[in-house]
Symmetry: C2
Subunit: 204 residues, 2 copies
């Protein structure tokens, strides 16, 4: 598949995705082991669900109860906290917009922000849907809160998240997390092992 | 969760499930490492889909194309052949009925039969939907083909597969493969690692 080893690994997530949170602990460490960078790329999973006909796993008959159990068990397996947020799922528009606004200014801060959003939502069970919550998290990461609060209602940043979501769809991204390594797609937190192996040997 | 370590590990599969085929290479080896037995339990995934609202992965927008790629890549990762059958998916009534008929007579032969059915379908891309194909596979495993051919139309064996499918649903089985270890449920070929870990330490 096409790709350049100079390009970062693309790590597509929705901030309301428990498995995105799980994989968010691990993806950067795996990449670093192989001397690679990771670009986190938040997108709106709800837009994708409208195409695939899927719905949030937790609201599906039979699958929902298992998923709630599996989130907890999989978090314990890698020794990270997991608190199921209520309400769930939530809108992640503010989080996604803030991420790209921060990324254009300071990519390292944007990644710290993304990890903080996930920690607030699934490490502590918090509600990250409101702009005020997002601004507070960004401020704690060192951002100018007032400037960000203004930016969140800017049509340009709204358009940006839409465009990023469409670009994800155009690349075949249909779930979260979804990792693309040099053109090779890996869906799910349970594909991190294959991502690691792929980075190590360039495919098989 | 409830369970007894004397009871076998239950390995629920539909014979038309690519990830069931993948996990079928591994589950018995993992169990053996921990001194445990595995009972393969074919069921009808179509009946479960009617409850969960799911459909075969390969026929879903976006997810289908990825799945076809992932089957091949995951098979290569564990060095087993994979040939996507055409037609797909197929009815697995005959295979499931034959399995339980064989199991009541010779559990070891039934397991060899199950593995042969999977090999024919996904190792060679064959069609295992027809009773004649199933009888031929069972004969190669040492079964009496004429007796089995008669049994496949017996209302009792039809009822048996129905009852096994309902029992699977009652235990929360909603996909294939679905492994239950001492009451603990694991969905997917990508949960074999957790199954291994669970067997090793009794949970976490």
């Amino acid at each position: 598949m096409p790709g350049s080893q100079d390009a970062p690994i693309d790590f597509y997530i929705d901030f309301s995705s428990p498995y995105g949170y799980l994989a968010g602990h691990g993806i950067d460490e795996i990449a670093e082991k192989h001397g690679r960078e990771v670009m986190w790329r938040p997108f709106l999973l709800g837009v994708v669900f409208a195409i695939t006909g899927q719905s949030p796993l937790t609201s599906q008959p039979m699958r929902g109860a298992y998923a709630l159990h599996d989130f907890q068990r999989s978090a314990r397996a890698i020794n990270i906290p997991f608190v199921m947020p209520d309400p769930f799922p939530v809108l992640t528009l503010a989080a996604g917009r803030a991420y790209y606004w921060l990324h254009d200014r300071d990519p390292d801060m944007a990644k710290r922000f993304a990890k903080s959003v996930y920690h607030r939502m699934f490490g502590e069970g918090g509600d990250i849907s409101k702009p005020a919550a997002i601004v507070a998290i960004a401020e704690a990461c060192g951002a100018d809160g007032a400037e960000l609060a203004d930016a969140l209602t800017d049509p340009a940043i709204k358009e940006r998240l839409k465009a990023e979501t469409q670009a994800a769809i155009d690349r075949g991204v249909f779930g979260s997390p979804f990792t693309i390594v040099d053109g090779e797609p890996f869906w799910g937190a349970d594909r991190l092992e294959q991502v690691d192996k792929w980075l190590g040997c360039g495919g098989w």
